[in-house]
Amino acid sequence: GIQVEQSPPDLILQEGANSTLRCNFSDSVNNLQWFHQNPWGQLINLFYIPSGTKQNGRLSATTVATERYSLLYISSSQTTDSGVYFCAVSGNEKLTFGTGTRLTIIP
């Protein structure tokens, strides 16, 4: 099956800083999504982005499908951005998740 690697595994930043999270995948995909899991365990879909670039407020994502990676950018971090960010990919209807990047924003 498709392998998904996320980096870095952990990231600690001061409030207001910017960050870039990376997702590498091992095969062609037609579905790539980014999720945020908040400290209460809730999983929120951030982007559906199998290719191209999207932006939503302070968050943006870029997927370069030909090179098999995706980047999630968070600008002007806030404490509410803390949590775990997951990348998930699939070539069919079964999403495979990476192990996530744990982001901690310090006030």
């Binding site: 999504q33 365990g41 809730q42 879909n45 559906y48 997951f86 998930a88 209807e93 079964k94 495979t96």
Partner: protein, 111 residues
């Protein structure tokens, strides 16, 4: 919020007992999924359904069975619970080929 309800939200059960988790959706989406989340493993697919009575295995299906007799309900059954099945279980739904939405999770402890 996507209309997904998981029940029970928390359960403690004894080793060897059967357990059923229910996922109910109000979105009429075709695809429904059960994932488990464990430290160090992220989310792993247990089973999924692509229509009423149509199901398929995921990567960690051993010890689990599923049923989908109605579009809105997807049941996950642990036939004989073991301590290794202590986990957080998430249901998810999708219209297919696009965004997937998760329920709030069911915390299961097998003692």
């Amino acid at each position: 919020d996507a209309g997904i309800t998981q029940s029970p939200r928390h359960k403690v059960t004894e080793t060897g007992t059967p357990v059923t988790l229910r996922c109910h959706q109000t979105e009429n989406h075709r695809y429904m999924y059960w994932y488990r989340q464990d430290p160090g493993h992220g989310l792993r697919l247990i089973h999924y359904s692509y229509g009423v009575k149509d199901t398929d295995k995921g990567e960690v299906s051993d010890g689990y069975s599923v049923s989908r007799s109605k579009t809105e309900d997807f049941l996950l059954t642990l036939e004989s619970a073991t301590s290794s099945q202590t986990s957080v279980y998430f249901c998810a739904i999708s219209a297919g080929g696009n965004t997937i939405y998760f329920g709030e999770g069911s915390w299961l402890t097998v003692v």
